[in-house]
């Protein structure tokens, strides 16, 4: 029994929810293989997918495994509703302080894009705020007892260049305040005013909340699926499938954002990944794919996000390529290569590491 085998089965389960034709075991898994599958399902937050497969008899299970599946799903949903309460509390405070926000990923997608919010598990609260509000949002969470995971490299970095700030709250929940959608050059290439522009409302517990509009949620799902980890995660891919635009006008709006944000390569890769999962893209989206024009620089960026060689240091160094203006580039590189909050020895280590990574490959592609 290997984690890889359990991973393949988890992919098959995800594929089945998209209508993909996969073969499943004809008898319940033996205990050790079942335990491996459960471990992968929990790591990937796929409890709803497993529950659906078991309750629809796609995956044969023993009675005991069936009970365990329902318990896993219930635990995941208990976490989700507790996070929803955290979300309501934080956004109420933001509203009181005049901080505009957009709910990202988990709760927004669960309520707006899944037939039943119980179809989407999540493990934290994600909120996008405007760069100008980053410091106020940060102070708000610190006042509520939140502890940030990583110190700000240099004053002003969070507002000018950061992806966002992760806070661990006193109750153990994590709240991520986002300035942009992803780390590194693709995140820095996003027009943040444009990102904040399109909105859609939803409600939790009778209170109204603001999310990104469907176009931007789809774009975010693509970024999350392709750029979030070295290997694409399954849940963001499923989000993509739920959010995929079908009309020509909607596809045009999506492609336009990817173009503006120099991310044709991301959309192309995201669709390819979802296809490999057995998904058939809507016709209009598939047609638009042929019009994408990923540049060599985009492909260079994309390679840095994916595979075993991914490192946040490399992505940070590459980020400078997406920053316009001499002054901002200088300040960004100073923060990345020589963070003011690190002792001298760490600074030197990081400087060397960053320099090595930046030098790979020797020739940078031009746009």
């Amino acid at each position: 029994v290997t984690v890889a085998a359990a991973g393949v089965l988890a992919r098959s389960l995800a594929s089945a929810t998209l209508g993909g034709r996969r073969r499943f075991p004809e008898t319940p898994l033996p205990p050790d293989e079942w335990d491996e599958l459960v471990a992968v399902v929990r790591a990937e937050r796929m409890e709803p997918v497993l529950a659906q497969a078991v309750n629809r008899c796609t995956l044969p299970v023993t009675d005991e495994q069936h009970v365990q599946t329902d318990q896993l799903h219930a635990q995941a949903m208990a976490t989700a509703v507790e996070l929803d309460r955290q979300l309501l509390a934080v956004t109420a405070e933001f509203e009181r302080l005049g901080i505009a926000y957009r709910v990202l990923k988990g709760a927004a997608v669960a309520y707006l894009d899944y037939d039943n919010p119980a179809g989407r598990a999540y493990g934290d609260v994600d909120l996008l705020v405007r760069p100008a509000d980053i410091e106020a949002a940060r102070a708000c969470l610190a006042d509520a007892g939140g502890r940030r995971a990583h110190a700000e490299p240099r004053p002003g970095y969070d507002r000018r260049f950061g992806k966002g700030i992760a806070f661990r709250m006193p109750n153990g929940h994590e709240i991520d305040i986002h300035r942009t959608l992803t780390l590194g050059p693709f995140g820095l290439a996003i027009d943040l005013a444009e990102l904040f522009d399109g909105t859609e409302s939803f409600s939790i517990g009778g209170r109204g909340l603001v999310a990104l509009d469907r176009t931007r949620r789809f774009v975010h799902a693509c970024y999350h699926a392709v750029l979030g980890r070295s290997r694409p995660r399954l849940v963001p891919l499923l989000d993509m499938a739920h959010l995929a635009p079908t009309s020509v006008a909607d596809v045009r709006a999506v492609v336009e954002l990817f173009r503006q944000w120099r991310a044709d390569a991301v959309l192309d890769a995201a669709i390819a990944e979802l296809r490999m999962l057995g998904w058939t893209p809507p016709e209009a989206l598939d047609a638009a794919r042929t019009q994408l024009a990923p540049t060599r620089r985009q492909m260079h960026w994309l390679r840095a996000y994916r595979g075993a060689s991914r490192s946040s240091a490399r992505l940070s160094v590459l980020g400078v390529e997406a920053i316009p203006g001499w002054r901002d580039r200088v300040d960004y590189m100073a923060a990345v290569m020589w963070p003011a909050n690190r002792p001298m020895s760490r600074r030197v280590d990081r400087l060397w590491a960053g320099a090595k990574l930046a030098a790979r490959p020797a020739r940078r592609p031009a746009d």
């Binding site: 529950a51 659906q52 309750n55 329902d70 318990q71 799903h73 219930a74 949903m77 208990a78 989700a80 509703v81 507790e82 929803d84 309460r85 039943n116 919010p117 119980a118 939790i204 517990g205 009778g206 209170r207």
Partner: protein
């Protein structure tokens, strides 16, 4: 006649075989599995408890007295955690 209804600020998820509810006065969510979870569906609108009992007893072909006791337990628990309210 007193009715019971979900509190609008209760947070919940409906599962295939149960429901997870976080009441306004609870720190943690709790799960209800099996037929008792159907109580949550029935209190989406104000309803008298006897009507809930009748519906579930009929639906499951169960003894009314047994169902009444189980429904009472669920209602009391949901009220305790702040997930439902009584309305005249």
């Amino acid at each position: 006649v007193v009715t019971v209804v979900r509190r609008p600020d209760a947070l919940w998820r409906r599962l295939a075989n149960g429901v997870v509810v976080l009441g306004a006065e609870a720190d943690h969510a709790r799960a209800i599995f099996g037929p008792p979870a159907e109580v949550w569906d029935l209190i989406a609108k104000p309803v008298v408890i006897d009507e809930i009992v009748d519906q579930l007893a009929t639906r499951h072909g169960a003894d009314r007295a047994v169902v009444a006791a189980d429904v009472r337990t669920v209602i009391d628990e949901l009220a305790h955690v702040g997930a439902l309210e009584y309305r005249p």
